[in-house]
């Protein structure tokens, strides 16, 4: 199996689907001649032409709303937000029209909105956000946050196949930093099935996206320094999310950290903690611990951004706290 970056995996998965299915098209700002701000669609316009790789005006509602219309007419649109942050400009369309269309009018809206998300490189408050929690609260939307190249491809294919609007958050900090084997052939990765990134016995870390790697480093550290064995559950998809896998891990370890990069209050971590507290009350040997960014905009200045993003040491400290509870 060839080794690919997370970014290549997304690009390859998308290209494969476009070759396979003429209904799939891409629309976004600078996705054509430029190949996308992050070059995910580089070379696509040469291959598929300007009507399947559409350079759109700077207008997110027109882009995503246009996808909804095209989807209702039988296409399989994939919109690219230049940064996940800008999906706020299509919020009304997504929550008002796309999310409710099936319930209200019976019409499925099979669209994918690709959102390059996440911080870690001084993008500042408008180029670093992780808006998955906001969308996860809206009935009718699906929300996907792959952590590995393999999942990035498989979940993208599933997202395109899915008959619902899917917010696909691809973490920018993983784009070129993370490399792994990715099958060449087409495959799908199911929604709602978590992946055990690392097995463990003493404590569970539930997380997704770039934080999987932060958790993994922390797990290495506590294994080495404390002999603590941490299990890492990578949710992969937030809506639907794999409650069963989380509860099974909790049953095993009785201690849980929920970790995410987005800010804490009202973040999706709260939903996971609440569910565990409701449904695994008797299995818990310690309070569930949330580790997330503090409730501020994402700071631009490097020392502040570092203090903002959950760091390996924060997770190590959280695990230690639970273990010694």
């Amino acid at each position: 199996m060839p080794e690919k970056t997370y970014l290549q995996a997304i690009s390859d998965g998308l290209r494969q689907e476009m070759r396979r299915d003429k209904r799939v098209f891409v629309i976004g700002e600078d996705v054509g001649v430029y190949g996308g701000a992050f070059k995910v669609t580089q070379g696509f316009q040469e291959e598929f032409g300007p009507w399947r790789v559409i350079d759109a005006p700077l207008a997110e509602t027109a882009i995503v709303g246009g996808c909804t219309g095209a989807a209702i007419m039988g296409m399989r649109p994939v919109a690219e937000m230049q940064f996940a942050d800008f999906v706020s400009c299509a919020w009304d369309h997504l929550v008002t029209v796309a999310a409710k269309q099936r319930y209200r009018a019976g019409t499925p809206v099979p669209i994918v909105v690709r959102c390059p998300s996440g911080g870690g490189f001084s993008g500042g408050p408008f180029h670093s956000q992780n808006p998955e929690s906001s969308f996860a609260h809206i009935p009718g939307l699906k929300v996907v946050c792959p952590a590995t190249p393999e999942d990035a491809k498989g979940l993208l294919v599933t997202a395109i196949e899915d008959p619902n609007p899917v917010l696909y958050f691809e973490h920018k900090h993983l784009y070129r930093r993370i490399k792994a084997d990715v099958p060449d052939e087409r495959y799908t990765t199911p929604f709602g099935e978590a992946r055990i990134h690392r097995e463990g016995e003493d404590v569970t870390v539930v997380t997704w996206g770039a934080m999987v790697y932060t958790a993994a480093e922390a797990a290495d550290k506590v294994a080495e320094e404390d002999g603590v064995s941490a299990e890492i559950v990578d949710l992969r998809t937030i809506i639907p999310w794999d409650k069963k896998a989380v509860l099974a891990s909790v049953e095993k370890t009785s201690k849980v950290v929920v970790l995410h990069e987005d800010t804490q209050t009202g973040g999706f971590g709260a939903e996971i903690v609440a569910t565990i507290a409701e449904e695994a009350f008797e299995q818990l040997d310690a309070p569930v611990k949330r580790i997330a960014a503090p409730d501020t905009p994402v700071p631009f200045s490097p020392p502040l951004e570092k203090a903002f993003l959950p760091q390996v040491e924060d997770v190590v400290a959280g695990i230690r706290e639970l273990v010694s509870y």
Binding site: G65, I72, M73, M75, D92, H93, A105
Partner: protein, 327 residues
């Protein structure tokens, strides 16, 4: 200075026949107008009887605009009509009992204005990508024209010359807000030009003028020559919704526009130009009455949804994609 073209009235039967409507079509149109107004009048009564939950909106005064546009659509064309465009549903063959059933508690319309305009543009985008000779129609009110969605959608459509026709139902009021507090140009249709296409202002009470302009615009779009913006000028002849007595609309305005009742105008035109007889008229009126009576009956007999279905259909299933559109 207006930028938009102002549409002329249509003259003779010959002229309208050249546009593809024969006498039978004209009688159908009259029927559609009666059904449209009838549904709304009956709906109003049902509302007063406490049978309609929520609120209730009518398009009195807008029937000719709605029916005129819809008559210009081809069978495979699509559109996103509004709360004042009952006539579009009627022409497109939605059975009146379904409409009553909806009033009585089945499903809801998108209310955020003008949220469906970008969707109409997206339909047109699909047609353009697949090189189909189909057209999408996107409606918005003159009030909703102030929102960003209309702008983004019309701009994208203009840049890509998509097969879409924009209809602005300008009934001169947005709830209680008069046009001079909604926009500051002469006509909303003037905006077509700044998106790269033609704008046309039509008298929305003149069904045939609306039809002719819509037909032109639809065919132009079908030929790949891009969008058109048609503004249909009418007056909202009732309150914003049933609870609203429209105290803020000057009486003279209602009086003036009452003289331009679209049904009456079309009826007179038929009388003068198409040998429309008393017998024909009363036959049509009788048919419509029966249709509406039966429709209300059927709707009232339809069961309300069962609470157990509450959770159904939030997410679509793969089978939902097995519709003609999605395949």
């Amino acid at each position: 200075m207006a930028i938009a073209r102002e549409a002329e009235p249509v003259g003779s039967l010959t002229e309208i026949q050249e546009l593809g409507l024969d006498r039978e079509d004209l009688l159908d149109i009259y029927r559609h107008l009666l059904v449209t107004r009838g549904i709304e009048e009956r709906g109003h009564i049902l509302y007063k009887q406490g049978k309609i939950p929520g609120s209730f909106y009518t398009g009195r005064g807008n029937e000719a605009a709605a029916v005129g546009i819809a008559m210009a659509m081809g069978p495979d064309d699509v559109g996103t009509p509004l709360h004042r465009d009952m006539g579009v549903h009627v022409v497109r063959g939605v059975e009146p009992w379904r409409i009553f059933a909806q009033f009585l508690g089945l499903i809801a319309m998108v209310s955020h204005l003008p949220a469906m305009v970008p969707v109409a543009v997206g339909c047109a985008l699909a047609f353009r990508i697949r090189e189909e000779r189909r057209v999408a129609i996107g409606w918005f009110g003159e009030g909703a024209s102030a929102r960003g969605d209309t702008h983004e959608a019309m701009n994208l459509a203009g840049v890509r010359r998509l097969p879409v026709v924009f209809i602005c139902d300008n009934n001169q009021w947005a709830y209680s807000t008069p046009t001079h507090l909604e926009y500051a140009c002469e006509h909303i249709a003037d905006r077509g030009k700044v998106y790269g296409f033609e704008g046309v202002v039509a008298d929305g009470t003149d069904l045939l003028a609306v039809f002719r302009e819509a037909k032109r615009a639809v065919e132009k779009a079908r030929e790949g020559e891009g969008p058109t913006l048609i503004e249909c000028l009418t007056l909202r002849m009732e309150g914003h919704a049933v609870h609203d007595d429209a105290f803020y609309v000057p009486k003279e305005m209602f009086e003036e526009w009452a003289k331009r009742d679209p049904l009456e105008r079309f009826r007179s035109w038929l009388r003068e130009n198409a040998d429309f007889t008393d017998e024909q008229e009363s036959e049509i009126r009788g048919d419509v009455k029966k249709l509406l009576n039966d429709a209300i009956k059927r709707a009232e007999e339809s069961p309300l949804p069962d609470p157990s279905t509450l959770l159904e259909g939030v997410f679509a299933t793969p089978e939902d994609l097995e519709t003609p559109h999605h395949k």
